[in-house]
Symmetry: C2
Subunit: 114 residues, 2 copies
């Protein structure tokens, strides 16, 4: 079963699966608008290479953009992160309540069986 949210989750998780893009999001975490060049400054890659990461984040709906003069300002859109977080939360019960007892059980079982 493929849900309507699958494309969204694909885009968000793939966007998060890159350290440059995660750093961009961290930089925007305080909620301010930041121009592209300022965002790009810490990274040792070309500007065209960098703006590809911005496009990826935009496709995932993770950042907003507007033009101001010759600058382009970006800001964080946290909604997709919240959706990703909700997907992960489906496992929270598992890792909190089952982790100790069940894994211990399986570990023992595996040892017993070889």
């Amino acid at each position: 079963m493929v849900t309507y949210q699958d494309d969204m989750l694909d885009a968000v998780f793939n966007a998060l699966g890159n350290p440059t893009r995660r750093q961009i999001l961290l930089r925007l975490r305080d909620g301010f608008e930041v121009p592209a060049s300022t965002l790009a400054e810490p990274f040792p890659i070309s500007l065209p290479g960098f703006t590809k990461h911005l496009r990826s984040l935009q496709r995932a709906g993770l950042i907003g953009q507007r033009k101001q003069g010759r600058e382009r300002l970006y800001w964080l859109l946290p909604e997709p992160l919240e959706i990703a977080n909700r997907w992960l939360d489906e496992y929270e019960a598992f890792w909190h309540t089952r982790l100790d007892s069940l894994n211990a059980h399986l570990r023992k079982q595996r040892l017993d069986e070889g």
Copy 2:
């Protein structure tokens, strides 16, 4: 700054960025061990194609594996999901407390400035 956890987060988020792999994890969410062929059964791809997804999940540390007879059993390892969840939690304060007020502020500011 690239932390020692970056490779881990890359692997986990990239593993999650695919609907087939997310479904595998859902299938394993109840904590039981499931043989490869049973896991593969719902998916309309070849078995070698499918086992590549299992390798991807193993590289991310998301599943464990053991051989039992001629079957290979897989089970969920939730720790990496917890780490990913903790990374996302860094934004939780933002989307809960700032979302309404700050975004409203920025939206107004953008309207004001054109």
